[in-house]
Symmetry: C2
Subunit: 343 residues, 2 copies
């Protein structure tokens, strides 16, 4: 059954309000999660609501926390989310950052004492919609073994960028630093298929091809070996160290212990094409780059070469007209959220 | 035979001067290349000199080009290298960027109409030595097949960052966007060892495990599949599109056609910890992060976990006291450079 986007967002917002989240924070959480579902990134959609409510109920997230400005200037902003939800804190921070960015070649904002902030790409796209190149990143609790290690030592630290691209809307790129997302391993486990060596280590730090390990303490490996390690450290440095948030084991899991204070950090940055040859010139040149990339000769069996974000924009346009078909896991977590708040 | 660093730099500088490169550009090229040799990155060391001279001789690089400032403000700088050598243009640009960065939370500089700029990490480290988080990136001619393509469509676009890290000197991370560097495939070819599937495509765009393909039009594959594609596009966007340099096939190879105008672009960026809690606080927190990362339980057979840049700093300290042992390929290219300029 397909649900219209605005209905799903209204329902998600209502659940957040019933959990004690005031406006406009409840609406911000709802819109951000529904945007991920619309872009077919259901892992970061309304499936998260029940867990946010678990954390609120057990004291790990303050539902009514207000953003605290620690320091700011014309081109920067340092805030604390004050132990509240990561999404409304990030939405408000990025709105303030975009306002500063109009008059600046570069600007950045850091957020400390925060929590799960949804899909990294959401905030980068807000910048692109404002005519800016936007970057968004967050640390997480340790999930990845760094090169040579037999234990999870650093987060899978999501990183996203987006930029305006004229008639192609934008480029939108959003990754985490592990070889594959855990969801892909869960699918292999369900199908009883072995996974390639190099995706994960088992809980003892030994290489394994057994997908069942994902349910028994598996440790993710970084993409491209030491390259993913270094990229994860870049994100840790900006969103943890520089932001004054928790770092490495100082960031608490948002999945395993609901009553914890996550102390997650985020970092957002903009580059303003108006200072580098002008926005129109930039988007015209981006269009040319996209056209050249996607018109390359294709591998056998490949029907189309996509630019980063294109698949998400196709899903989003369909969702806007046809509504969103939620996968089973999202539906059951949504029902669990409804029960938790008596809706 | 080990050569003292200052002797090697003086010799390299003399060769550049004989090729028509004036001071201080000749010295800048020499110092940058020798720094790479000292850090054990011989692929970006004095091995490059002969090729730079080939390009100068055939009209592809203007040896006496002067940097042209296109636009600037308190936090940004746009320059053209005017068809000259990439290294002196980048050195001068980064010096100007660092001077601006002292008073700014963020700053950036773009370079157009440039050429090969040596090791990306060199410029990021200059920023770290000035107490800044530094980023450095450049596009290249197309070398990598983007996801789904059967031809090289985008450069392997080097990307580096560095940051001050107190008693650990710095973190320094410097990668290109292909799964492996071509040198690693050449070693496999020399040993007659097949390479893993997923490193390269042959010249027809077919997957191959034959390392000999590297000598016959092989196409590199991006690290982490679509993740490396997106990261390469990020670098292309900032150092090509935004900088007003050539993009994709508009960047000419510096290896195959010496008489060409490369029109390479670079992008440099700084984030100043003084605006985000202070430099001392930042380096103290970086030390803690490095200590936690490197003290993780290790895989069997792993003696030590390194932080990004640590191996390069160990090599560099050794080179400073013991001199540099150049590999055979560097020695023969150095001899070729000497012959070219009659030294």
């Amino acid at each position: 059954m397909k649900i219209p986007m605005n209905e799903l967002a209204a329902h998600a917002g209502e659940l957040m309000e019933r959990a004690g989240v005031p406006e406009p924070a409840a609406r911000r959480v709802a819109e951000t999660l529904v945007s991920a579902d619309a872009r077919n990134i259901h892992s970061h959609g309304v499936i998260r609501l029940a867990r946010y409510i678990d954390c609120i109920r057990s004291g790990g997230i303050r539902p009514d926390a207000e953003l605290k400005i620690i320091d700011e200037g014309p081109a920067f902003l340092r805030v604390s989310a004050n132990g509240g939800l990561g999404i409304p804190a990030s939405c408000e921070t990025v709105e303030r950052l975009i306002a500063k960015s109009a008059a600046m070649p570069l600007a950045a904002a850091s957020v400390s004492h925060s929590d799960h902030y949804g899909a990294a790409g959401y905030y980068a796209m807000k910048c692109a919609e404002a005519g800016l190149i936007g970057f968004s990143m967050s640390n997480t609790c340790p999930l990845i073994a760094v090169t040579g290690a037999a234990a999870a030592g650093i987060g899978n630290n999501p990183f996203a960028y987006a930029a305006p691209a004229g008639k192609y809307c934008a480029v939108l790129f959003d990754i985490c630093m592990s070889v594959v997302a855990s969801g892909k391993i869960m699918l292999a486990a369900a199908d009883n298929r072995p996974i390639p060596e190099g995706w994960i280590l088992d809980k003892h730090g030994k290489p394994t091809t057994d997908p069942q390990a994902i349910y028994d303490g598996a440790i993710m490996l970084p993409l491209g070996g030491h390259k993913g390690y270094g990229l994860a450290l870049m994100v840790e440095m900006l969103s943890g160290v520089l932001a004054g948030a928790g770092t490495l084991s100082g960031v608490n899991s948002w999945n395993t212990v609901p009553g914890r204070d996550a102390d997650t950090g985020h970092f957002f940055m903009t580059v303003n094409p108006a200072f580098f040859g002008g926005l129109d010139n930039f988007t015209a040149r981006m269009e040319k780059v996209i056209e050249e990339l996607t018109s390359a000769p294709r591998l056998d069996g490949v029907e189309k070469i996509y630019y980063p974000g294109e698949l998400e924009f196709i899903s989003e346009r369909r969702a806007q007209t046809e509504g969103i078909e939620l996968p089973e896991g999202s539906v059951s977590e949504l029902e669990r959220a409804e029960k938790l708040v008596g809706a």
